[in-house]
Amino acid sequence: MSLARPHRTWTAGFALALSLCMAQHAYTATRAAAPAADLLVTAAKPDRLFVIDAAARAVRTQHQVAGANGQIFTIVLSPDQRIAFLLVDRMERIVGIDLGSGREVFRAELSTSAERVKDFFALMVTPDGKELIAYELPTQLKPSEYVVEEPRFAVFRTDAGLTARPVRSYPAPRRIHMLLARPNGQSFYALGFDLYEYDVKTGKLLGTRGIQKWALTDHSQPDLLAFWPVSEPTGVFTSPVYSELKKAGGNVPMTALMSLNLKSGELAYADFEPLSALIFSTILSPDRKHAYGVYTTLTSIDVDAHRLEKRVPLDHTFYAVNVSSDGREIYLGGTNCDVGFYDAAKLEKKAILKLPGCSDQTLSTLRVIRGK
């Protein structure tokens, strides 16, 4: 983060993320009436995939993902919400797990013996569910040296089974950290230095819009690094962005909310407060009026007025945030073994669910399977 001063909780937070299951307050899960029939999907070290009944505040199923090798990174759901595609094995393998049976139905080994390929979090499934696109950072492994190669997008058929190989691949820019499918199925967004749009079939670059090159003359270079392509339930992806507002008396660090409407392509970016608390990730409420952000605090942002609405401290760092389908509850995850349930209007804690085995969710996506 290009923050003016080192932030204590930033380092402390990562330290927390490094250590496994440490002293936490114990909270009894209240089995209150269900606000929505949502199921949550999250993962924890070293290889656990959890499906949680949000209303019951209870783990419904737990799968052990073979070959996860320590950590499950990005989680992407198939459009029918039956399969969870997971980036695992030190970012070198993508597996598809049937959430009902726990069976592995898809596997793509990105690396070969001659080439180590890592995918830095960026992963998507096309809206028809037929193709999966991964972002590949390849390194040729020669006997006595590494040779960095140009990145590429690799397209897999989701029905390719356990020996999936790319059916197409095409050149990609460096430093991409997120892929987002557009609902029309023809193109997708890649987020990195800038926001790029690519043709799914041909890999043709359709357009580039500024992030680093954001045409804001009164701001310093913005800083955005988002890990999780979560745009449900609205089809709008949001993320905090940090930059400094240039002022005569000295620059002022600001926090902005960027939002990208995947359907219309509308991209907006507006400061909502002078930086006063770090936010790791955000989610837009179903009515699109509020955005909720987490890190050491839970923040509610008035999206139309570009205003901070409310902020409450959390018991510890949370990285991941999501929202219930009816918009009444906020779900928190991404660190430790706690999944938090908060009242969206009051930002009050309603319950904390401890994952069985209590191991760390380290940067795993928190997904919602939306009730019909």
Partner: protein, 526 residues
């Protein structure tokens, strides 16, 4: 990073030290020539061509640099390497592909593992590109041509994917810079071929055997001095016997065993009193001076200075202890050096001083020195014959500086030892002309307080740790503390306060201390 790696480093912590692999085994590996070892252990991956091994023959590094590389060959590339072979390889590679003294000078602080040292300045571009994860000293302690600097950039991105995504990496096209203009710039700064290295290699090997005069300093503690007797064994390694005492006369005797890498890099493992110490010293070009830093084997941050000069050399003063005297006092002063013994030569401490009770040997003078109450403050020349040193005379202390002015301490706990921070209060007097005269360390009372409003709000001074009597900050245990906001770690942002009484006044000096999280891995060159 993973704890497994930390464990491996621990098992390699004794690398570079004599006896780390057992004498018998070392001799076995040492009996095989260097090139033969490289051929049998490395050429499977590093092809041999016309007497050169791919990559290996194109880089020069310090002994610590070679240890780090071999560690990676074993840890990441599966090279099966016993400690004895490793030690023989490091000797061979550091001797034949090392750095000349002039080349390692700027980065020595990193080899010496000095805590809170100022890193070298290579300009803003290299500073951000290469100085955010490790010191630039690590960079400056290698010599390569452009092609090899480029390969190192490939290694970084190929091995540490997040390098392009982490802070100060993602704000620029990191790879494009690292693989574009940077290798050429690094090669211009730190080239493989140099006249310094060519000249160094053609120098005769110095025999360090004999008797040496030693002076040293323990930060937060006392100055010490004495003699070292160094013997060279048949294999070319060294044993040293120390007879040392601090200024109060407390004996600090002990022994050391050392390897001399590259003809000047002394790496010793010493036992002094109950303490196991490491020695990272450099021998001067003429072979008559050995200087550097020693530190605790388990706590590299705890250590001090060391200078030894060969006994019997030209007359010289190595140290005057204490280094300052107050007007109107009488103090026993020790001069340590060479050629001090001639009873016919007078000993002078300069204007306004008088000397009684002089005891002297060739390496030491002890004298009772009285400074007149009206002696003018200022620097005095301390001399006997051709040997000249310095002594500061003062009437009062006018300023107290906390040194280092900025320090980092790390929480300890679990498998990771805490890292303490040692401060000293340095006194100064103001001369009539307005300039400050350094008086050396002053004993002080140590406390901490919040550095800013945020630190005050989170009560950092309550959680982060405490001072001992000699200016050492001992950090608390790591881990989430339920008593803190967000169950935070015991980190802190503190102002360090030193107070010293000087006649009727109390002087105060301040420094800045960050108490931060544990570091899992501390490689030999940080």
């Amino acid at each position: 990073m993973s704890i497994g790696v930390e464990k491996y480093w621990k098992s390699w912590a004794a690398a570079l030290l004599l006896g780390s692999s057992g004498a018998g085994a070392a001799q076995g590996a040492a009996a095989v020539s260097g090139p033969e070892l490289v051929r049998s252990y490395c050429s499977g991956c590093h092809q041999e061509q016309a007497g050169k091994f791919e990559r290996i023959s194109d880089i020069r590094k310090t002994p610590e640099g070679w240890v780090m590389t071999l560690f990676r060959m074993r840890q990441m590339h599966g090279l099966n390497l016993g400690d004895d072979v490793r030690d023989a390889l490091v000797r061979y590679l550091a001797d034949t592909q090392g750095l000349a003294p002039a080349e390692s000078a700027a980065g020595r602080f990193a080899l010496e593992r000095r805590p809170n040292a100022q890193d070298i300045d290579l300009g803003p571009e290299i500073g951000v590109m290469c100085g955010r994860c490790h010191t630039l000293a690590r960079v400056s302690l290698q010599r390569r041509d452009e092609a090899e600097w480029l390969k190192l950039a490939h290694t970084h991105v190929g091995q540490w994917t997040s390098i392009e995504y982490s802070a100060s990496g993602r704000d620029r096209p990191w790879w494009q810079i690292a693989s574009g203009p940077l290798p050429g710039k690094l090669a211009a700064l730190f080239p493989f071929s140099s006249s310094a290295w060519n000249e160094w290699q053609s120098r005769p090997v110095r025999d360090l055997g004999g008797s040496w005069v030693v002076v040293g300093h323990v930060p937060g503690g006392k100055d010490f001095y004495g003699t070292a007797r160094i013997e060279r064994d048949a294999g070319g390694d060294f044993a040293a016997h120390y007879q040392l005492a601090d200024v109060t006369g407390f004996a600090m005797n002990g022994d050391s065993k050392a390897i001399l890498y590259t003809g000047y890099e002394w790496r010793g493992s010493a036992q002094i009193g109950a303490r196991s110490l490491r020695e990272v010293y450099a021998v001067s070009d003429d072979g008559n001076r050995i200087a550097g830093r020693w530190f605790d084997a388990a706590h590299a941050e705890e250590g001090g200075e060391w200078t030894a000069v060969r006994e019997g050399g030209a007359p010289q003063v190595l140290a005057v202890l204490p280094q300052s005297l107050r007007a109107g006092t009488t103090t026993t002063v020790t001069i340590v050096g060479n050629g001090l013994g001639a009873a016919t030569l007078p000993v002078s401490f300069g204007a306004g001083t008088s000397v009684t009770k002089v005891e002297r040997s060739a390496q030491r003078i002890r004298a009772l020195v009285t400074v007149a109450a009206n002696a003018a403050p200022g620097m005095r020349a301390v001399s006997t014959g051709a040997a000249v040193g310095k002594l500061a005379v003062y009437a009062q202390i006018d300023q107290l500086n906390v040194v280092p002015g900025y320090a980092i301490a790390r929480l300890g706990g679990g498998r990771v030892e805490p890292v303490s921070a040692q401060f000293e209060a340095m006194g100064f007097t103001r001369l009539p002309g307005g300039e400050l005269l350094a008086l050396g360390p002053v004993s002080a009372e140590w406390t901490s307080m919040p550095f800013d409003a945020e630190a005050k709000r989170t009560e950092d001074e309550k959680f982060a740790g405490h001072f001992d009597m000699r200016g050492r900050f001992l950090p608390s245990a790591a881990g989430p503390n339920p008593a803190r906001e967000f169950s935070g770690d015991n980190v802190g942002n503190l102002t360090v306060v030193a107070r010293a009484a000087d006649s009727s006044r109390t002087l105060e000096g301040r420094g800045h201390l960050i108490v931060t999280v544990q570091r899992w891995i501390t490689p030999p060159i940080y």
